[in-house]
């Protein structure tokens, strides 16, 4: 939550007449007003574009911050060798073509990939772009003292070498069926060697001038960067495509919250484009009725899911046991029962969740990997229809009997659980709905919401992070970069359960463990593209979903608002939303 109301306790006295106004000061209108004035249309042909990101951009170097907002803002300035288009297909940017097995760019043993670079590209300062910049960028991220954010893209990279001025080869230590990690997508753009050569390793974070104003090959260059606030950009006159970008200047403003950002585009028309709208559908609809803009959606791999804790999260346990996997010796008192998990999943009516919280920006999904189509399993479609009768039946059969208060119990264990998520009105609505659905099958639910900054903050000292998971069920959205789910699914292996041994940075939040799944992770890593790879990935999806370690709820679109005047926007759920900003025009 980037916007915070002034805390009322700091007022010395409470002028009564102002009370209503003081509490209502949290309303989004006030926030919109506090946004400094965007440039008004000066003439008929207004060549200035105003973009609003309600989370402010802190830095313009995606290697130092993996936040979506930083990655996307940087993508206006610095570019990778290739990126994903709005259909999830790779398109060359600074490379001449996408290297494949067929064109010889990927070696037969799958251990190296050779990129051919475009020859006529120059940086915005006029110096030529060469393979030296690419090799340098690899060194920059792989430096030992560098906490490189897109680290996962560079896993198992052995060497990155320049074969000549315009050819680069990346060699991996193991066969890589999907070698498009480094330098593909907005998370791993190319930095200029000349500019960043003194910023290696521990010095990376100190290079403020460079990190706030990288020289790039992209359509725009940075004029002024105010961290956490606003970025002013102007067209890069040396951009390789003549006549582009259409806009001469751009402002990327940060701050506020989702609803006020939507309003600034759809209702008041102050901005041309606003990013990431998790706002109730009826609120969006009302804003769109003003006729100034529309919501654009693209379905990528975002899935809002419930994570079911497989370890005991009881608050009476000390930190040496609570929510720790401990090789399976610390099971959850009732969520370790597959019947209970199945019943919880059966009771959820996803259509209701979409109707109340998502509208056109959400679809029902029964898979944790809903896309690309070849990776989407068809084995779980029965989840589309909620069946609380069946849920009640299997619970009765398993001996979970209803008590006087309507809550089921067995052997003294009550089906009473704590369900946490981040603070967001849509999520709190979903929580309330699911609580009622579970009440119908005799499960008692206590709700908790945690500020998003804390919940996703990953501070190992906080008990409220989604990694610590000091609750029985939690809900959030996750996705994967690009179109291959290998790294994403490898996150759910047994030894990836978060705990003190991995500084609580483990990625298997449910702590669910399956030997078959772990075996498939290794097979997937060695299987080249084709039917077999798809089948393995689908099987992995089915293991997680059918064991109900994760309950997929909603396939969420990347949803943004654009003004009706703004043309050329092709929303891209696979890469930066600003990936084709050079084509935007009025």
């Amino acid at each position: 939550m980037s916007h915070q109301c002034p805390h009322p306790m700091f007022r010395k006295t409470v002028p009564t007449a102002l009370l209503l106004a003081a509490v209502a000061a949290c309303s989004p209108d006030e926030i919109v007003e506090s946004v400094p004035g965007p440039v008004e249309p000066a003439s008929e042909e207004n060549r200035h574009v105003n973009i609003l990101y309600w989370q402010a951009v802190a830095i313009l170097n995606p290697y130092l911050s993996g936040g979506t907002k930083e990655v996307e803002a940087s993508s206006m300035v610095i570019e990778p060798l290739a990126n994903y288009d709005d259909r999830g297909e790779m398109v060359p940017v600074l490379a001449v073509e996408i290297p494949t097995l067929e064109n010889g760019g990927v070696s037969e043993d799958l251990r190296s990939i050779t990129w051919k670079l475009k020859r006529d590209v120059v940086w915005s300062d006029g110096t030529p772009f060469t393979s030296r910049d690419v090799v340098f960028t690899g060194e920059y991220c792989l430096h030992e003292q560098m906490g490189c954010s897109p680290d996962a893209s560079f896993t198992e990279v052995e060497t990155i070498e320049a074969l000549d001025d315009f050819t680069v080869r990346v060699v991996f230590s193991v066969p890589k069926p999907f070698p498009y990690g480094p330098f593909v997508g907005a998370v791993t753009p190319i930095l200029q060697h000349q500019q960043f050569k003194d910023c290696l390793g521990a010095r990376a974070a100190e290079c403020t001038v460079e990190n706030f104003g990288p020289i790039g090959t992209g359509p725009f260059k940075v004029d002024e960067f105010r961290a956490g606030d606003v970025i002013s950009l102007s067209a890069n006159e040396r951009y390789r495509e003549p006549g582009k970008p259409w806009f001469k200047t751009a402002t990327l403003k940060g701050g506020g919250e989702a609803a006020s950002a939507a309003r600034a585009v759809l209702e008041t028309g102050e901005y041309d484009y606003a990013w990431n709208l998790q706002v109730e559908p009826e609120v969006l609809e009302r804003m769109m009725a003003a006729g100034r803009g529309e919501v654009v959606v693209g379905f990528g791999t975002n899935v809002e899911r419930l994570v079911i804790n497989q370890t005991n999260a009881d608050s009476t346990l000390g930190p040496e046991r609570r929510s720790l996997y401990l090789d399976g010796s610390n099971p959850h008192p009732f969520l370790s029962d597959p019947v209970v998990r199945r019943a919880l999943a059966l009771a959820i009516d996803r259509d209701v969740l979409i109707e109340t919280g998502y509208g056109p920006t959400g679809r029902v999904t029964c898979n944790i990997v809903p896309a690309p189509a070849e990776f989407a399993s068809a084995a779980n479609e029965s989840c589309r229809v909620a069946d609380s009768d069946e849920a009640n039946r299997i619970l009765d059969e398993a001996g979970w009997a209803r008590g006087e208060d309507g809550v089921r119990s067995k052997d003294g264990v009550r089906l009473s659980l704590l369900y946490q998520t981040s603070t967001n009105s849509v999520r709190q609505g979903t929580q309330a709905l699911i609580k009622q659905m579970w009440q119908e099958i005799g499960v008692e639910t206590e709700l908790r919401n945690v500020d998003a900054g804390v919940f996703f903050g990953g501070d190992p000292a906080s008990p409220d992070t989604y990694q610590k998971f000091y609750a029985d069920v939690e809900m959030y959205t996750s996705n994967f970069q690009g179109t291959d789910p290998e790294l994403y699914m490898a996150a759910w292996t047994c030894d990836n359960a978060p705990g003190p041994d991995n500084q609580w940075l483990g990625t298997n939040m449910s702590r669910g463990c399956s030997a078959e799944f772990d075996g498939l992770v290794e097979r997937l890593a060695a299987t080249p593209y084709g039917e077999e790879r798809y089948e393995i990935a689908k099987r992995m999806n089915d293991i997680v979903v059918q064991n109900h370690y994760l309950i997929p709820l909603i396939w969420r679109a990347t949803a943004s608002a654009r003004s009706k005047e703004l043309k050329g926007v092709r929303i891209n759920p696979w890469d930066s939303e600003l990936w084709n900003i050079e084509d935007w025009h009025r």
């Binding site: 009322p8 509490v23 608050s315 009105s425 009622q436």
Partner: protein, 303 residues
């Protein structure tokens, strides 16, 4: 302390509280305040007997509904009845406001009287007060809640546990103003003739404090009390807003207002009713405080 009211026959004996009531009765604002406040309290505690809808029940078929016989104040975007929510929220907000106010008042008065009356603890207590005033409150609240939430939740259950925690947290962070005001008054009063007189006839210190000092500092205490209720209600909403207060499906006035803010153009009543309830409560309590102060102050009374 009896004295002659302007419209009373000479020499009729009246108690202090009778006097106060007579003066209070003449304060129109205060009387209206009492009426409104009594109405709100009665409504939130007796209302659910008449309007028996469950505030937690989600009626998906009746989302964002306007006023009707079934839902007199309409429903929210999940189909929860607004009237039931405002009533349920009022019980919690008022209970939090009152309990926290009483806690802050007892603490603040005790510390203020002790510091003002006994010179040797003055320095220590006042520096403690300064310390509390200087503490950044929000981080302090976050830490307290993080440390004790789970313990209290296990001991008392999620609702009572959080209630105790919030009341305690608000109480111990809002007594400082009262303590300072009371200390100032006590310092002045303990030098007055009637205190010296009481001391000269050998009255014990405790009795002087209770009998002679406290009644004379009642008016600033009353004013702090009324402001304290308002402050506590608002602090509770701020905590709920940060996700640290009651569970999200637990209506309080502050949370209802916060949740309704996005829907202000679709169902304005979602903001109007809880907002009005907060405003009226605070306004009426302040008027009551205003009237009480006038009535309790012998210099203002009867003029």
């Amino acid at each position: 302390m009896a004295e002659i009211g302007h419209d009373a026959p000479l020499l009729e004996h009246r108690s202090l509280w009778m006097d106060v009531w007579l003066a209070f009765r003449n304060h129109t604002g205060a009387l209206v305040g009492v009426g409104v406040f009594a109405f709100i309290v009665l409504a939130v505690f007796l209302g659910p007997l008449l309007h028996t809808v469950d505030p937690h029940y989600l009626d998906i078929g009746a989302r964002n509904a306007g006023a009707s016989w079934e839902h007199p104040l309409g429903t929210d975007n999940l189909g929860r009845d607004m009237l039931a929510q405002v009533l349920a929220g009022g019980r919690i907000s008022l209970a939090v406001g009152f309990t926290a106010m009483v806690l802050a008042l007892v603490l603040g008065t005790a510390i203020g009287v002790l510091a003002g009356y006994f010179k040797r603890v003055d320095g220590l207590l006042m520096r403690t007060t300064d310390l509390f005033l200087a503490l950044p409150l929000l981080p302090l609240l976050l830490v307290i809640i993080m440390l004790f939430r789970d313990t209290l939740r296990t001991a008392f259950g999620p609702e009572t546990g959080i209630f105790l925690l919030i009341v305690f947290v608000i109480g111990i962070t809002s007594w400082m103003q009262t303590a300072r005001i009371v200390r100032g008054e006590v310092l002045a009063i303990k030098e007055r003739e009637f205190v010296t007189a009481a001391r000269s006839v050998g009255t014990r210190e405790r009795r002087i404090v209770v009998r002679h000092v406290l009644p004379n500092v009642l008016s600033p205490i009353m004013v702090s009390a009324t402001l304290g209720i308002a402050n506590a209600i608002i602090t509770e909403s701020a905590l709920s807003f940060l996700g640290l207060g009651f569970p999200p499906d637990f209506p309080t006035w502050g949370r209802l207002l916060f949740d309704g803010a996005n829907f202000i153009s679709i169902t304005p009543e979602r903001v109007i009713w809880p907002g009005l309830a907060i405003s009226l409560t605070v306004l009426s309590v302040n008027y009551i405080g205003d009237g009480l102060r006038d009535a309790l102050d012998p210099r203002l009374r009867g003029t």
